[in-house]
Subunit: 428 residues, 2 copies
């Protein structure tokens, strides 16, 4: 049952409270994670084996699986499952392959040419959550843009199953991506291993991927501790559904529950143009919850969520921009006129037939998205996340004459005489 | 005098040591900065006034200057200085205005349309170092891409001079940028004020700008503490110059010194194809140092720097890619054939007539660049840094039929039944 709030009667402070999510939820685990990072840094592979025994309940001889193992595991899944992964691969590849664009050279003054060139980040680390939950889709969402970017080394870490292997779905995705090795390391220790390198596991330049609170904390710590960067800070997943009288309450409820089943800290927010619509959705929630395998989780997440009643769709978008949702679904016939007013969101799903789960798996867009209000300043993962843009410039004699005195004056006024001299000595 | 190393006789560990820069230099100031952040968070404007009295030696009635003050200060500078700032403005604007591109819609399957749209980050905070050093160029380098991106609110903080004002150069740049207010706050307290907001100073979504070690530490702390993001971690500035027999030792020395005058922790690395060239540059360094106002600083920075002797330009680029310099200058006739081999660098200056100082001020490229090896995974500031890219998708009936079973199979294999149901309920 979703709690109800009326948008127009919310004060500024109440509104702030409502859109706030935990920005620093896990200080309690800080010390645990710091210790794991330190152990991995000093001991390398040895302690990774100990953690595998302790956390994953498995004795590992080697810390990775190679091509032969992967090939074998990949054959264990059904043909229709392989086919579904292939279609997802194709759609994600198709969408992401349009994201890299050559840029033109700009002659800012006669003889002064400036441009940017794209280079892949050479070594990237992908963390794929595993264990009880199995997330081959995340491997596709990170591996495909890494391949398109042209990253030289793609290091994949995922926790081993109790048999010391990975499941066949992940194996099949590795084959689709032409990645020939996977490291059997999970949790904070995987992040530490990729940040510092161990005997088996290469150090990378940037670490990607979602994970539990230990993984998230480890990413945030290594970002401050090393010059390894991360894709984005991550919190619990969330959806905001905007619905008006044209919405089908059953569809709305299904979308809220798809979010809620992720975990009890997931938020599923409904913004509706009438109290009656919220009531109708609440009835659907009850019905649909009953048959869900993860109903315990999902019903707790729904209790942590809420509905906001607005007087029109403009107000709905206003609230959504305040909230800055990871996922935003517009279940209204009016979606086309609303999109340009959306300022803060990770990924947006338009109309009655575009559920979030399409984008979670297979429509082509990425599912690694900013949560917890980070959509105000972060974009989701894309090919952009796997490249750098380097600026280049070339100045010829004409250019140096054109720009020389400007640089000399500016260097002088900032009191940087050697900067000035680098021009003057060439103009002699 | 630059120390000399031979590239081919460096072992792997020595090489690692040589290219390493301080990734966590300032743990000693951690507590001081944490305290400042906490004070600003709790006390707001009151403590900002106290810090102004303590650090900037000035009593401030109000914490900002408005349009009238800015106009007045802007008239105090010479016409040729105004003109130089205008030319820099034009060139930077010209280069940066090509960086935002509309992307096309991709129909990944019939009826499944996906695209990205660009949105400005609404509220950005620009930190402009001030006090003894005066950096109007940084205001242009951050303000211009923010304007092009279309950011709604641009909050500028800079420490006040002892007269409670800012200098005329910064004022003139504010006018060029059409920014009508500047907040008189410096150091870690400025970062904290923009991260949390105070009575006078608005909270922002992302904080940009260089600064001393207090500012840098504050940026790194608030990044972990809030959902405010930052442009990039920052360390001391650095240059790597690659020179062969076609290089002019006087130009090379001038470029190294332009870097060295920033501070004793600046690095100015020379990669040369012969020991004789290093000797010639060392002689020039001595000569040019003598007449520099900041020669004490610069000579210490040169002592902290070094030269690497390579047998050819390919080796030089190899070393440079290992080092991942903020600024890279290629002082060789062969620059054109080398550029495609450059993988890790912030900004690259090509040929004998392209000094770094051109790009520092006026050629058009940005001077806010990744230091300390971050060029392996970060790009410099650009219009990209001031926007988000939001993904949108729309699925029609045909699309839902096309993609439905794929999503259902994938949701099922990940054990997420509510995800599956969001499709099934629409396909009934």
């Amino acid at each position: 049952m979703l709690k109800k709030y009326e948008y127009q009667s919310l004060g500024k402070a109440e509104l702030q409270q409502l859109v706030a999510r935990n920005t620093d939820p896990n200080n309690s685990i800080q010390e645990v994670v710091q210790d794991i990072i330190q152990q991995v840094r000093v001991q390398g592979d040895t302690v990774l084996r100990e953690y595998a025994a302790k956390f994953d309940k498995v004795q590992l001889d080697k810390l990775f699986l190679d091509e032969e193992d992967i090939d074998e595991l990949a054959t264990t899944i059904h043909r229709d499952q392989q086919r579904a992964l292939e279609i997802a691969f194709q759609n994600i590849h198709r969408f992401h392959s349009t994201q890299l664009k050559r840029e033109r050279t700009v002659e800012t003054m006669p003889g002064v040419k400036c441009w940017r060139e794209i280079r892949p980040i050479e070594k990237v680390g992908l963390y794929i959550p595993g264990g009880s939950a199995v997330l081959p889709s995340t491997l596709l969402m990170l591996g495909i843009p890494a391949r398109i970017a042209g990253c030289k080394e793609i290091v994949v870490c995922s926790p081993p199953q109790s048999n010391g292997k990975i499941n066949g779905f992940v194996a099949y995705c590795l084959k689709l991506l032409n990645i020939k090795r996977i490291y059997l390391v999970g949790g904070a220790q995987a992040v530490a291993a990729m940040a510092f390198g161990t005997q088996s596991i290469p150090k990378v330049d940037k670490i990607f991927g979602p994970g539990n609170q230990f993984v998230t904390k480890a990413k945030s710590i290594i970002q401050g501790l090393t010059n390894v960067s991360i894709d984005m800070p991550a919190g619990p997943s969330e959806v905001l559904v905007i619905a008006d009288e044209t919405a089908n309450p059953a569809f709305v409820a299904a979308d809220l529950l798809a979010q809620a089943e992720h975990g009890i800290d997931s938020q599923a927010v409904l913004v509706a143009t009438s109290p009656a619509l919220v009531d109708a959705v609440n009835i659907e929630l009850e019905t649909q919850l009953m048959v869900l395998p993860r109903k315990e989780l999902a019903s707790k997440a729904i209790e942590n969520s809420y509905a906001v009643i607005v007087s029109n769709l403009q107000e709905a978008i206003q609230f959504s921009n305040e909230y800055a949702p990871e996922h935003l679904i517009l279940e209204t016939d009016q979606w086309e006129s609303l999109t340009r007013h959306i300022n803060n969101a990770g990924s947006v799903f338009l109309g009655h037939l575009t559920p979030e789960s399409a984008g979670d798996y297979a429509s082509g867009t990425n599912h690694t998205l900013p949560t917890s209000g980070y959509a105000r300043s972060y974009s989701g993962v894309s090919v952009d996340s796997f490249v750098k843009k380097i600026t280049f410039q070339h100045i010829n004699e004409t250019g140096l004459q054109q720009i020389g005195s400007t640089v000399e004056i500016l260097a002088e006024l900032e009191g940087l005489h050697a900067h000035k001299n680098a021009i003057s000595i060439r103009n002699k």
